[in-house]
């Protein structure tokens, strides 16, 4: 990677600790883009309502894509919507994550065969970090998916891992 990683290629303690803190900050305040598509959006709303309260994880719904970190694709993505979805994803600021919630956005769900206007999986237009199965997934499943996403953020590193060194040698 950059100059720093060449100097401290084996994950120097200062760098990793700093990285840990920065990753911690990121995973603790993942702002969600309030953007629902279909049935799953209702369960997404239920997840942020009092009963499940996803805001315990530091989530704040932001209406503007510029200010949000996570896009929850909650529901069926149609061909008409796909281009809009892609544009919204492009408007988000890095680092950004996508959670695909529900069967429809994972793979087309019940509409996979005859859905002439349904995109068979949102990963055909934007990269997806976490897939949550279910039709629709329960709010608890969304919380679980959220924790998986947090784990993913936690293991993010800018330092080159040792394995690649060995592979390069």
């Amino acid at each position: 990677m950059g100059l720093l990683s060449q100097q401290y290629d084996d994950g120097n303690i200062v760098l990793t600790t700093a990285e840990g803190v920065l990753n911690w900050a990121r995973l603790c305040s993942l702002y969600q883009m309030s953007f629902g598509l279909a049935c799953c959006a209702i369960e997404m709303m239920a997840a942020s309502a009092s009963h499940n309260d996803i805001m315990r994880f530091g989530v704040i719904p932001r209406p503007s894509p510029r200010q949000s970190d996570v896009m929850i694709v909650a529901g069926t993505v149609t061909l008409k919507m796909a281009s809009r979805l892609k544009r919204l994803y492009e408007q988000m600021a890095e680092p950004r994550y996508v959670v695909s919630m529900g069967s429809c956005s994972n793979c087309g769900g019940p509409y996979w065969e005859h859905g002439y206007h349904v995109l068979k999986g949102v990963d055909r237009v934007v990269p997806v970090d976490v897939y949550i199965p279910g039709c629709p997934p329960r709010p608890e499943a969304l919380l679980e998916g959220w924790m998986r996403l947090q784990e993913k953020v936690r293991t993010f590193t800018t330092v080159r891992p040792k394995a690649t060194d060995n592979a390069a040698a």
């Binding site: 061909l79 008409k80 793979c107 002439y116 995109l119 068979k120 055909r124 237009v125």
Partner: protein, 158 residues
Amino acid sequence: MALSTPSIFEHLTAAFPELTLAHDEAAPCIIVPAAGIKDVCLQLRDHPDTAFDFLMSLSGIDFADGTLGVVYHLASMTHKHKLTLKVVVPKDAPHVVSVEKVWRTADWHEREAFDLYGIVFDGHRDLRRILMPYDWEGHPLLKDYEVPEFYNGMKVPY
């Protein structure tokens, strides 16, 4: 006073002799020629005995025998009776007179039938696609419709 379909038919044939009554006990309906549907509807709406002021539904249908159809389900708020009208048109020239001026709700219903079946409603103020993207090709609910392979670079079939 609620009227049955045959008595409404009696009522109508005085002014419109070209109508036919489809005899089916479970689902009686009146077959109307495509060009006369608007006049029939106006008569049905404005005559105090029928007073069909509510268009419940307007559906396109592909009979799979070279004809398309439009089915009108009417109801009356005052008399609480219902009526089904049908129009059958050939598939290669599907032209039906629009009833959008009779009931405003027919506006979107007709756009939908145009979108999904390609039935053209003559006299409609703004006949364009409603559900599918404006640049979509074909009318997907036709029985012989084939799904395109790609749309705007996105693969459509699974």
